[in-house]
């Protein structure tokens, strides 16, 4: 299939039928609107004429072209003369009339005549190839110009697009079954959380990642401050199998204490795994982290304990401080040598941030991670089971850590030695998840379940607002007292508010009104 060294001024603008068969590519009535075939049929005469013309254009390429006869024969001169006359007539008329002439002359012979009409001696046995007996009837492929078939509405059909996607899904499922992880294990995700403004943001992120995991999943959510409806309503949307437990302590305000409490909450979750004898791979999906899907695929490869590289995203104030360091995003995780053996750990170097890091949750300073974050580790759930044989001897018993003032910074404390950790993700070269901590002010408020309950039809701002920095006096009407009383006595949830009311009330919405509602409905942070 080579492109031909033809010249560009070929005038192949007439279709040609070279065989006597009735071709199927002819115009099929109403079906094809833009078929570009011309309705002219040519005789061999014109075919060869054109061929000869084209040949004369092809100049250098055709050094030894097979015996097309010399131009000197009388017939050739005759044709030349006719050609000249026709050109003159066309010039006068203003259009090429030759096609019309031929059409009318030969229209009778359209389908039947083998193309010998009007042959001159120089019509060098043209499509005499036309008829070896074994071929005509059988060959349906016609050489020459064909129409370009375009259907009336050349745009995608949504039903077919859906079918195609289903086919691709099926193919990909098969690929996963063949080349992906064999015998995938259940993923047990452990998430410590507590109710605060950014909880919805963080938890939704984790939830969506977990919903995309193609393996079986159990989501253990440990909530500080006890089980609440707020959290329950968020995780119920996931459709995953969840175990929602409460932890009696409330989440403290300083990062130091927070990290400690989170560690204890995770251990609590591990105890649940042990008690319920959940089988699978335990990943620590902190609710402010961002996970890539490959993380869960790599987690399937763990034998006992695995470590992945975690990218640490620091919310830092000054960007100028970063340029000293070559690496802009520090990475925590296993360090390997050239033979892919674990030789150490990349941990977070907090020296650069001493004195500048956040202490309290709402400090506007970079929040530092621990030396090694829990989320970078993946465990085989059988490690925490009691009374099961096959457990390696280097794992400490979970119960032994009970009661001791556990300052378990990282899961490495669960094991007697840290050399047994398997580096995952191409030996730690792939960063599979990212750690960051962003929280709102401690006293920030948010509408319960992030549903803005519309006020009553009559929305009256109160005389006083609880916000300390707002102007104390507000324009008031006669109905002030009644309004506020109604507000405060309103039941906490009004789920069935019609839309129209909300629209109307939107016009009157200002922050102060919301403030009034929120203070009655939201949970205190």
């Amino acid at each position: 299939m080579t492109s031909l060294p033809k010249s560009t001024d070929d005038n192949f603008d007439n279709p040609s039928l070279t065989k006597g068969t009735s071709p199927s590519q002819q115009v099929d009535g109403g079906l094809f609107k833009r078929v570009k075939v011309q309705k002219m049929k040519l005789s061999a005469l014109q075919q060869s004429y054109l061929t000869r013309r084209a040949n004369s254009f092809r100049g250098s390429a055709q050094l030894d072209s097979s015996g097309d006869s010399a131009v000197k024969s009388p017939a050739a001169i005759f044709w030349l003369a006719i050609h000249g006359v026709c050109c003159l007539i066309s010039l006068v008329l203003g259009f090429r009339f030759s096609r019309l002439v031929f059409f009318f002359l030969f229209s009778a012979n359209l389908y039947t005549a083998p193309f010998r009409a009007g042959g001159g001696a120089d019509v060098a046995s043209p499509l005499d190839v036309s008829v070896p007996a074994n071929r005509t009837a059988a060959s349906r492929v016609v050489v020459g110009r064909h129409g370009i078939r375009i259907r009336p509405w050349p745009h995608p059909d949504p039903v077919e697009v859906m079918k195609a996607h289903r086919i691709m899904e099926r193919v990909q499922r098969e690929q996963r079954a063949l080349f992906g992880v064999k015998n995938p294990r259940t993923v047990i995700a452990v998430t410590p959380t507590y109710v605060r403004t950014f909880q919805m943001l963080h938890l939704t992120g984790v939830m969506h990642a977990l919903m995309l995991v193609p393996y079986d999943l159990v989501w253990i959510v440990v909530e500080a401050g006890g089980v609440t409806n707020e959290t329950a309503s968020i995780i119920a949307k996931s459709g995953l199998r969840t175990i929602h437990v409460g932890f009696s302590q409330r989440m403290p305000n300083s990062w130091e204490a927070r990290h400690k409490l989170e560690s204890r909450m995770r251990l609590h979750a591990l105890r649940i795994v042990s008690k319920e004898k959940l089988d699978g791979v335990v990943v620590f999906a902190d609710d402010s982290n961002m996970h890539s899907m490959e993380f869960f695929d790599e987690a399937q490869n763990v034998k006992w304990v695995g470590a992945v590289s975690v990218g640490i995203l620091l919310h830092s104030e000054e960007s100028s401080g970063m340029e000293e360091d070559g690496v802009s995003v520090p990475v925590q995780g296993p360090a390997c040598n050239a033979t892919d053996k674990l030789v150490g750990w990349h941990t977070f170097n907090s020296l650069r941030y001493t004195g500048r890091s956040a202490v309290y949750v709402d400090d506007r300073a970079p929040v530092l991670p621990r030396k090694l974050e829990w989320s970078g580790f993946v465990l085989n759930s059988r490690l925490v089971w009691k009374d099961v044989d096959g457990k390696p001897e280097w794992v400490r018993d979970l119960d032994a850590l009970d009661g001791v003032d556990e300052d378990i910074e990282s899961p490495l404390s669960l094991f007697k030695t840290s050399s047994v950790v398997e580096p995952l993700g191409n030996c730690g070269r792939q960063v599979l998840l990212w750690w960051l901590r962003v929280e709102a002010r401690t006293d920030s408020k948010f509408p319960s379940r992030w549903i803005i309950d519309p006020p009553l039809d009559i929305t009256i701002p109160s005389k006083r607002t609880p916000w300390p920095d707002a102007p104390p006096e507000l324009p008031s009407n006669e109905k002030v007292l009644i309004g506020t009383q109604d507000q405060t006595n309103k039941p906490s949830t009004r789920t069935k508010t019609p839309r129209s009311r909300r629209n109307r009330s939107k016009r009157k919405h200002d922050t102060k009104v919301i403030g009034v509602q929120v203070s009655t409905n939201s949970e205190q942070n």
């Binding site: 070929d10 370009i148 086919i167």
Partner: protein, 416 residues
């Protein structure tokens, strides 16, 4: 009775083991055995089944031509050169012509290249004729059968018709002197002048190392539905469309350029091979000739070939059941291509992918250097072996002449 129980158990185990024959589970992907109309012949070993004698032609027919233009080793017609090299060192070669079943004439007819790299076929008929004159005068074997037990490799666009333009090729027909010989060519179209009865169709040459260098992991999900890269309109030779590809490529473009399922364009990206491995279907429409290297690439990369070329004869058609492996779409049905492809049941698609994954299938499409068992060279030899033993009509009585040495256009008769 215990003995009988044990025996029965053993029989049961044996039966279950043997029944897993159809699907190999040892490798990564389960594949299916490929058996075409000639049977399960892809893995046959031709050694011992035939003997080939290679004529020693003066180097002006082969080596000198190659020296003049080494691009002949990498373009898609390179099969003729590699076939010669393979036969020279193959165990099927014999130095004794008396015991040979087949005779091979190493003449590189597709190596006269333009500056762009396209082969010019104008001298090829004369070169071939000159070579045949040489072998018929120096050895008695040509005259014995008038070439019926000789084979030639003619990988050009339209095979031994030696022209790139179809109308002219049809006009010329197969070179008269080759009318009795077996032709090994890439061109194949049913009921076409340039495909002789008994020819062996081979795939065009595609560089195996280059393709294998671009393999991506098997588990990369196939997320492109239909993939094609190439010309739709040959602007240089046929700007309006209608001649090139019989209008089929232009129809594909006009109908599906807006369709997100069809990743088609004329660009030539560097990730061409990688993209093919991420596609479920790869279009292989005809161009100026019905065959194309896309078929080879699609097979190597596991992408189901969608063949849009009426009446095409695909490589090794008797050994490979192409209808089960690829999807054939008539040129007149191109506007409904999306309907056709989406209406294929998923099980059929998965089965086609399994067949494509068969390593012997991929091997049969390649011309690796050095030759490996099961590759295209061996398939050619297998094809030749299947034509043995020669029919009695092959051998002519002394003095009997069938070929007309003066037939053909006048220009062909001039010496080369």
């Amino acid at each position: 009775m215990d003995f009988w129980n044990v025996g029965f158990l053993v029989l049961l185990c044996a039966a279950s083991v043997f029944s897993i024959g159809a699907v190999e589970l040892g490798r990564h992907q389960p594949t299916e055995r490929i058996s075409g109309s000639a049977g399960d012949v892809l893995e046959d070993d031709p050694v011992g089944r035939l003997k080939v004698f290679v004529y020693e032609l003066p180097s002006k027919y082969n080596k000198k031509i190659l020296q003049k233009d080494p691009r002949c080793l990498t373009h898609m017609f390179a099969a003729e050169i590699f076939m010669h090299r393979f036969l020279l060192s193959s165990p099927v070669r014999t130095l004794n012509p008396e015991e040979a079943d087949w005779f091979y004439t190493p003449v590189y007819t597709t190596c006269d290249l333009t500056p762009n790299g396209l082969p010019l076929p104008f001298k090829s008929p004369r070169m071939m004729r000159s070579a045949i004159q040489l072998i018929s005068s120096n050895w008695p074997y040509w005259n014995r059968t008038e070439g019926a037990d000789h084979f030639f490799v003619t990988p050009h666009d339209f095979g031994a018709c030696f022209h790139y333009q179809e109308e002219k090729a049809i006009e010329r027909g197969i070179l008269p002197l080759l009318r009795r010989a077996t032709l090994v060519q890439t061109f194949g179209q049913r009921n076409h002048v340039c495909l002789k009865e008994g020819s062996i169709t081979i795939p065009p040459y595609a560089p195996p190392q280059k393709m294998h260098a671009h393999l991506i992991p098997d588990k990369t999900p196939r997320s492109i539905f239909v993939y094609f890269r190439g010309l739709f309109y040959d602007v240089g030779n046929d700007p309006e469309g209608g001649y090139y590809a019989r209008g089929a490529r232009a129809a594909v473009w006009e109908n599906f350029k807006n369709n997100p399922l069809f990743d088609i364009s004329t660009e030539h990206p560097t990730t061409y091979y990688e993209d093919m491995q991420r596609a479920v279907f790869c279009l292989c429409p005809l161009g100026w000739a019905p065959w194309s290297p896309r078929l080879v690439e699609a097979v190597i990369f596991g992408c189901i070939p969608v063949i849009i070329a009426d009446d095409i004869v695909l490589p090794f058609a008797d050994a490979i059941p192409w209808e089960e492996i690829g999807v054939f779409v008539d040129e007149k049905d191109v506007p409904q291509l999306d309907t056709i492809l989406t209406s294929i049941p998923p099980e059929v698609i998965l089965r086609k992918q399994r067949l494509l994954a068969n390593p012997s299938m991929k091997q049969a499409m390649l011309f690796p250097q050095p030759a490996q068992p099961g590759d295209a060279f061996h398939q050619v030899l297998n094809g030749l072996a299947r034509k043995l033993p020669h029919d009695r009509s092959v051998f002519l009585k002394p003095g009997e002449k069938v070929l007309n040495w003066t037939a053909g256009p006048v220009g062909d008769l001039k010496p080369w």
